[in-house]
């Protein structure tokens, strides 16, 4: 059997979103034996999330302008020899050589059915996507406050609305899409509150002009929002949430150029839900665990450093989509395809594959969309003053219940200058989400103490990408090349 210890797959793809799907079907069509692992039960990733068949949705594509592109990928997957392993949660990837990899996964809808799996492959393509970035504010833990991406996911997966009157806030192009989906599904969106000024786009006229599809997309959202009388509030932020048991209203304040809230500008906006998000954070932990280098994106996240053929700095490991920086599903699909071509060229020693006209055209489209993504990231980068809306009793780390005040204490009194030291001193980021929720906020608060002793921020290290039962670890096969034998402490 392919993938057994004696015969590894040519390529293991982690993640079945647009990048992973495109990568897997392209590789299989080029003749590679390919396995596609995904945590979800159905392919599509976050973007093409769709209702389970049992929900009886008659038009699952109604919330996607791009549904045909996805169904085309899905058809190619069905027609291919790709081994699609749904409900496989990859917790780590290990490497013996540039062409000898093992992907370790837990199985089951929640990864808890107790059957750990190991898949061997000669190359790995990481297409693990991104998670939402959250910047906390007073009241953000109140029921009725949901992530903007989370609200859209709820809508796409189960056609559930977070409320009837939903304020959409934060920063990034996703907000318009979310507001548009919410109104289409019947919610009233009184305001879209965007912390950046859209004038920021004007600084990148070239990237905008060469990406006309993005303008079309914005126009579609813009028209839909105008029809539903949604007000757009640039340079503003939700700086407080009101309500006892759940959201009843929010305070929207104007922001200065560095996102510091301007005193006295607060307005109360009644609503029963708030969908808030500040862009996306690439999920890079499987790669950074292997020593892959990262780069700082213009909006302050850490993305994998990739070469022109989507290969990471660790030979044999490729990445596509949001892991290399947020850029949307079209870019992800192109990168997945490019990576598959590059892997095939390497494994089959067919360098000619990478010089064809189609591949050159793909690379050009990738570069153009990547440039646009970087411009958007720069326009929506959080200003340093946003921490000005945090009160000392605002909870920053929800898992470990650590407040902004305690983080500031660790910085001001105990000399913490980076997120890792704050974590060691306060436990912020040590809980269930492993800092995925609070990482950005903690890093920003830690940076406040930096002028008198700069410690450059480092990407979060999460050697376990998902929690792993000890029994699953204990049941791994023994490796005689492992650590030294037991000894004294």
């Amino acid at each position: 059997m392919t993938g057994s210890p004696s015969e590894p797959y040519d390529l293991a793809v982690v993640g079945a979103g647009p990048a992973g799907l495109a990568g897997a079907v392209t590789a299989a069509e080029l003749g590679l034996s390919t396995v596609l692992l995904d945590a979800s039960g159905r392919p599509g990733g976050q973007y093409f999330r769709h209702p389970a068949p049992g929900l009886g949705a008659t038009r699952p594509g109604a919330l996607h302008h791009d549904w045909p592109a996805f169904t085309a990928l899905r058809r190619r997957l069905a027609a291919s020899d790709v081994t699609h392993l749904a409900h496989h949660h990859v917790w780590t990837v290990t490497r013996r050589a540039a062409d000898d990899w093992t992907v370790h996964a837990l199985t089951g809808p929640d990864g808890d059915d107790g059957k750990p799996v190991r898949i061997r492959a000669r190359a790995v393509l990481l297409a693990t996507g991104a998670h939402e970035r959250h910047l906390p504010f007073p009241g953000w833990t109140l029921p009725g406050v949901v992530g903007a991406g989370g609200a859209q996911a709820m809508l796409k997966a189960g056609l559930v609305l977070p409320g009837r009157r939903v304020v959409v806030a934060g920063s990034g192009p996703l907000l318009l899409a979310v507001a548009s989906s919410l109104t289409a599904a019947g919610a009233h969106v009184p305001e879209v509150v965007e912390a950046a000024g859209y004038l920021g786009y004007a600084r990148h006229p070239r990237a905008l002009a060469t990406n006309p599809h993005k303008l079309v997309e914005a126009a579609v959202h813009g028209t839909a929002l105008a029809r539903h009388r949604v007000r757009l509030r640039p340079r503003s932020a939700v700086t407080a949430v009101h309500g006892t048991d759940r959201v009843e209203a929010v305070t929207v304040s104007r922001l200065g150029p560095d996102w510091r809230p301007l005193p006295g500008t607060g307005r109360r906006v009644p609503c029963d839900a708030l969908a808030v998000g500040h862009g996306l954070v690439p999920q890079t932990e499987l790669a950074t665990g292997l020593g892959c280098a990262t780069r700082r994106t213009p909006d302050g996240t850490d993305a994998l450093l990739l070469d022109a053929w989507q290969e990471t700095t660790v030979p044999g490991l490729w990445a596509a989509g949001e892991t290399g920086g947020t850029g949307g599903w079209q870019l992800a699909r192109v990168e997945g395809e490019l990576a598959a071509v590059a892997v095939t060229a390497r494994l089959r020693a067919r360098p000619g594959l990478t010089t064809g006209r189609r591949v050159r055209d793909l690379a050009r489209r990738r570069d153009r969309m990547r440039a646009f993504a970087e411009a958007m990231a720069a326009a929506h980068a959080p200003g340093a003053g946003w921490t000005g809306w945090l009160t000392d009793d605002t909870e920053v780390c929800r898992c470990e219940e650590v407040t902004a005040g305690r983080v500031r204490e660790a910085v001001d009194d105990l000399g913490a200058r980076d997120a890792r030291t704050v974590k060691l001193l306060t436990r912020a980021g040590m809980g269930w989400c492993q800092g995925r929720m609070c990482g950005a906020a903690v890093a920003a608060l830690a940076a406040a103490g930096r002028p008198d002793g700069a410690v450059p921020p480092s990407p979060a290290r999460r050697p376990l990408a998902v929690p792993v039962p000890l029994a699953a670890l204990a049941a791994l096969p023994e490796d005689p090349d492992g650590p030294d034998g037991p000894e004294d402490h």
Partner: protein, 383 residues
């Protein structure tokens, strides 16, 4: 350009050993500046479990250092906010069969003669101490002196209590010396710092700092992984590990070997340590190390099998060839002192090390015989 306000002592390293050196030096009336290329507790200290152990040490100089530290930690913790999570929880060493129990009894007897408190726990009483221990163990010994602190908190609070000037993110690029080779200070990217004494508390990088001063100290890294579970109610009360003893017929001595060390924390997660590998500064995850830790822990506490590990992290223990730290004055560079190479025991050994360094700095009698820790013992040894 020299920076103003030259201190009496510069401590290189803001880990727990550097913090303890700063603390005791400042208490002796010296003005102290601590420099570190990273943040506070950014090296081995931040990757440790905070073990303050006497149970795992055979009679000898390291045990003496540990016993002194045990007393000092108790006093220090009383003066730190929340005690830096200091917990005198005690260690429980268990034996799997009668032969191992016999060896453990002999080992404990030799430790008792050296000042360790060790109480034999018969097999039928083990579960009174640890209700979730696996059945069928032959017995064990309770070591009430074993304790734990949260190491990063301990280092940060000690540094603050010392009143030392702390310069983080400033890498030492040179050790400044005078005409006759004596220490004059250090150079960092932010400028020169002058002081007549420099303490090398750079942990795993201690060999590098020694080299900058023209001294020789063969400190090497030894990687360890710690597994951290999801938060649990208190299922593990002590620091628990199983001891195996390999009788060395030739020397008649018993070398201690241990399985995974399992312990609960005040915050809820169970910590499982500690693997050992000589792999340089490689942080790549070792699945085999995790397997051994998980297997060892679930063998001792079967209840942990269904518990999930939330995270794991690697650290690098700074070790010297004879597995003893270097504490005291460098024989060839006047004004240079060393306080590094504590391997996996730096948190536990820090206070005694700091106190000894402070005594050397002030010219007073050290609190214990420092000859076994003489940094000069490797001079002439080539790597």
């Amino acid at each position: 350009m020299p920076l103003s306000n030259s201190p009496d002592v510069i401590v290189v390293g803001a880990g727990v050993v550097g913090a303890a050196c700063a603390y005791y030096a400042a208490r002796s009336g010296l003005s102290v500046t601590v420099v570190d290329r990273g943040p506070v507790a950014g090296g081995t200290t931040g990757a440790g479990e905070g073990n303050l152990l006497v149970s795992d040490k055979e009679p000898g100089p390291e045990l003496d250092l540990a016993l002194l530290s045990t007393r000092l930690w108790r006093d220090l913790a009383a003066g730190l906010p929340d005690g830096a999570e200091y917990e005198a929880k005690g260690g429980l060493v268990v034996a799997r069969d009668a032969a191992r129990m016999t060896a453990l009894r002999a080992f404990a007897r030799s430790q008792t003669a050296a000042g360790v408190t060790a109480q034999e726990v018969p097999a039928d009483a083990l579960h009174d101490l640890e209700p979730h221990l696996a059945p069928g163990l032959a017995g064990g010994f309770l070591y009430p002196q074993d304790a734990q602190v949260q190491p990063a908190l301990a280092a940060a609070h000690l540094l603050r209590a010392s009143g030392a000037r702390v310069r983080t993110g400033q890498e030492v690029t040179a050790v400044l010396t005078g005409a006759s080779g004596e220490v004059r200070g250090v150079r960092t990217r932010a400028g020169d710092l002058h002081a007549p004494y420099v303490v090398n508390a750079a942990g795993t990088w201690g060999g590098e700092v020694a080299r900058l001063a023209g001294a020789h100290l063969p400190v090497l890294p030894r990687r360890g992984f710690v597994l951290v579970t999801e938060p649990l109610p208190r299922v593990v009360r002590h620091k628990v590990y199983a001891a195996d003893y390999v009788a060395d017929v030739a020397s008649g001595s018993a070398a201690l070997q241990t399985s995974a060390v399992v312990e609960g924390t005040p915050a809820g997660p169970v910590l499982i340590g500690a693997s050992r590998e000589r792999v340089g500064f490689d942080r790549t995850l070792s699945v085999e190390a995790l397997r051994r830790l998980a297997a060892g822990a679930t063998e001792l506490f079967p209840v942990l099998a269904g518990v999930r590990a939330l995270r794991t992290y690697a650290g690098f223990r700074p070790y010297l060839p004879d597995h003893l730290p270097a504490v005291g004055a460098d024989p060839s560079v006047p004004g240079l002192l060393h306080a590094c190479g504590h391997e996996g025991a730096g948190i536990g050994l820090a206070p005694a090390t700091g106190l000894a360094v402070a005594r050397v700095l002030t010219g007073d009698e050290p609190p214990l015989d420092l000859r076994p820790f003489d940094p000069g013992r490797f001079t002439g040894v080539t790597a």
